[in-house]
Subunit: 333 residues, 4 copies
């Protein structure tokens, strides 16, 4: 960490500050410039609150050299993390496809879709039981009943299931859920993250609408610092000035997150773009960019979906897309 002092800080003040910084446990190197004195803090600065240093007397600015995340950092864990969920493995160079409807709507619907996406090559089933909706008047999901139906589909097909938690009070319902999803709006729900850190279950952590790569990794760090290393990062589009698409898929997130972290990185093209006809090109782009997986919305009858029908593929569209993904993946190897 580098500490830049205000111009013309007196020698005595510099010495006082250095003494103060040493109480944090750092060695301090002093570099006297023509206008600015610069201090180099040596030691473990990864867990220091940068704002605390900025507030010290005579300090003009502070620059980090080390990233503020440890457990998620590839520097300290060079090999890819692979997360095993029953027979599926996420991370480490494969391409794991997760598919299913936005919302669980009925036993028939979820079992039909589950069988279909399994036949097409999906390794996990997704489906929303608790649904975060902008409007209190929109369908809020089947909730507890939705979880039960997902478990039926799991029993029927053998596919492990991924579904979203919206509040800690729902956690006990997730005992038999294989992967717990934290939605974009909850990426910085820190109390939730801490508790999920104690659960040991794989967590699919979606990037928030306006959160940076570093913030996403810090949220992963919340989970990991509580003891759970099984975090799957998910890029699902960020919010920009462009309104033609639902969100703007930040495809660079794939190679950047994989450089910064050893955690698996998957992409959700359905929520990113919000329009079914663009899901295929974005899925292929994500594969080409090096994603470890995709999470894709598939509905047996998109026109009647209770939620997000516009961005859902039909089972047949999904089947064709998986073929193209497989072909592309082979060409990349």
């Amino acid at each position: 960490m580098i500490v830049i002092l205000r111009e013309n800080t007196a020698q005595a003040a510099v010495e006082k500050l250095v003494a103060n910084l040493k109480t944090f446990g750092f060695d301090v190197h002093i570099s006297q410039g023509s206008q600015h004195t610069v201090l180099g803090l040596i030691g473990d600065t990864g867990k220091v609150d940068i704002d605390q240093i900025k507030m010290l007397e005579c300090v003009d600015d502070v620059k980090r050299i080390q990233e503020p995340f440890k457990n998620a950092n590839r520097k300290f864990h060079p090999l890819d993390t692979q997360i095993k969920v029953k027979d599926a493995v996420i991370g480490g160079g494969g391409m794991t496809v997760i598919a299913g409807p936005c919302s669980v709507e009925s036993e028939e619907q979820i079992i039909t879709v589950a069988r279909s996406v399994k036949a097409s090559g999906a390794k996990l089933l997704r489906g929303g039981a608790f649904k975060p909706r902008t409007s209190p008047y929109a369908f809020q999901g089947l909730r507890e009943e939705g979880i039960k139906l997902l478990l039926e589909a799991k029993k029927d097909t053998g596919l492990p299931i991924v579904t979203e938690i919206m509040d800690l009070s729902q956690l006990e319902l997730f005992d038999d859920v294989d992967v717990i999803q934290v939605g974009a709006r909850n990426m910085q729900n820190f109390e939730l993250l801490k508790q999920l850190g104690h659960s040991g279950k794989p967590i699919l952590l979606k990037r928030g609408l306006a959160n940076t790569y570093q913030e996403l990794l810090m949220s992963a760090e919340y989970i990991m610092a509580s003891g759970n290393e099984n975090v799957i990062l998910c890029e699902r589009g960020v919010r920009t000035f462009e309104t033609y698409t639902r969100n703007t898929l930040d495809i660079s997130a794939v190679p950047v997150l994989k450089k910064l972290s050893h955690l698996p990185v998957i992409v959700d093209p359905s929520h990113a773009v919000g329009v079914a006809e663009f899901v295929a090109p974005l899925s292929l782009a994500a594969v080409a960019a090096g994603a470890d997986g995709l999470i894709i919305e598939v509905h047996n009858n998109p026109a009647c979906a209770k939620c997000d029908g516009m961005q859902s593929l039909t089972p047949e569209q999904f089947r064709q897309l998986v073929r193209r993904i497989e072909k592309l993946k082979s060409a990349l190897e």
Copy 2:
């Protein structure tokens, strides 16, 4: 609600769609254009899920005319809502100043600051007990102990208190809290909003980092639809490409939200800009733009604050600012 059909939709398909739309309870007017047929839906469309209509066969696009919020809508409630919190009133043309430290740190600290801001003219005391921090390694607040210390300060000064809830599990600790704050990161924590709707307490709802005016009002609607009309909207800066300031204060939010809604609108200049020296000009700007109140960070010793010291005013700076706010407010009347 206006429904635009795909080009060259056959007459039979139009008739089928109209019949379908009537099952939603609408009257439907048909306008046949040279290329497009347009349907006008007449009836209460405020609570309809626009995506459901978009998915119907032959539909190209759907445009709302009515806003999707009811309880928060000024159209149905033309007079300003005034929220009474002990002796303070928020809304209806006054200027209510809320002040206090970012975090409660000790009994001495919170009582010192509380007495000081009261003497300067603050009507409510703010202080964080549960602190949402990007890093799991940063100070997380005194939590339960912080609430107790706030209640001590309330007893000592008579000032009602405002403090943030981060999770529903904390709700029972808020029995004697006067105003419950929902932070920007929780603006779309819908389960939390629903429960706060049952609490009856005034809720200070902060706008999310990348949320629109309409989304903020829809989150207010979640609280109000559960029976709690006491919602205070708070603009606290949005995230943009500009990094010199912590966030970008969207000052237009003040007159726009006050036009769209009858709810009080306050501004948090401290979090918006993140630098103490800019808090005063932004506070004055908010007053001039018509805000109903301000929530300002004040710390007895910003350089030693455990959180957000950089944006905290000293008690003396705050005292002077309140004088200027009062002078400005008189000039505007």
Copy 3:
């Protein structure tokens, strides 16, 4: 175009407005709702200024149905436009790679790079002579001399050249340039666009930092409306809150622009991400998303580049990337 009237507009006012709208040459259909009257304007509304209609008395809002661009619109020109530049063809399903240094620096440099990228498979040579730089103190390009050196490289290798124009006064220097580039900062330099519309030369039009798809297409329309149909659209990243990458590559632009328009769409991964090691994954992603071409920065010695060395590939890195692009492209067919 749909015109929504203010609530409770009197019948006489409606009639007056309808008469007024008919003077614009429209047929008008009236749809009387319970609260709102809605007018459908029938006729060629593509060239109408929407703001003019919004200002008419009693008008609450206006919604377009037709896109406001004609020449660039795929609806009126369903087949892909193919732009021939000597032996190269851009558009129509191929993958044309353009490569070269950010800045032309010397005859040796540009000829070395030109030969090298040609050998690796590039079909056009790029190189900056006039350089838009944020700082007046940064290298501004070799300017006229740079154009001459590019023409030398063209003579030597036979590669057609692409280079950026910054001001109309430079236009006469571009006589032998094959493709004129309009940079992101000039995307809405409308006087420049109009004149380039008269030039007949292929124009590579880069999307602005914060411009929508529609605005990009309207800028293409400026060129096309002046008689030049040879416009190549280029996605080069937009500006967001994320600062780790130079810009945020909006990969969705590829399939969306190709749906809305018949013009070729290429991607500039080098400027989008700004870091050499991420250029390859983004290039592959662009190919997978359906781009018609790529424009990639290659420098014989990136560490000594006068501009943008951080994002330049070495000739060897470029050679390997082209191999991967070709393999991927085959797999997609």
Copy 4:
């Protein structure tokens, strides 16, 4: 400037780099950390291209301490710059109001508006002759004729005039124009800025849609480095995800730019918000935030304006607003 080396850079490599840096004319101080070596560059680093340093071998990152602008920097010019335009003075603590229509439409129109805004207290007349419009089919301004009409209005009222230049080829028409406006879309039209630097005339430089404070100041620096110190900075709203308003007024730009620079800072509330009814609260906010002036659109008949009628005030609305501005300004002193 601080140069952070890659981890574990060998001593020999450090020495080679230091020797290299000294050739740039710097003194170099070395600070050896446990993991990173950090170099402090001492000397005039203000004009160095940071990217050049970043590319040097072994360099991990470079951080600036000095701002990269000199002429515009308040550090080297502590007193406010005041720009005199006939009897008007912009900067230095006053409040100069500029007003007029978006577009000059006719002699009668511009003279009527000019007389009216003068009577209400405006000190300069604005009016567009060359109009940057997103669509080639929208009204493009009266162009040369518009300049003539503005000069008529100037003769009639004595008000100095402000109007926008769109291309260098128009410059000779601006001989009698008092203040030349550079629009948001041209903020980084560097060739234009350089030439305007040679003109000596006051330049009103609008912030681009997605440009940072520093980029705005660097564009001012282009003008100033060519010898013209008369630059007026103008905040006119930036582009965000919020679409209810035309742009998002960044009110913090006022105090921040005034801290960083000695140049006058004015605000354009009309373009920022795009809706007439919000122009007054935003104007008052700008005054309260410390702006040196306002540029406000006024039209004698907004409903018939050829451009931007939606955001224009009527002469009477403007008159009342100026009264409120004056009252507010007195209260702030």
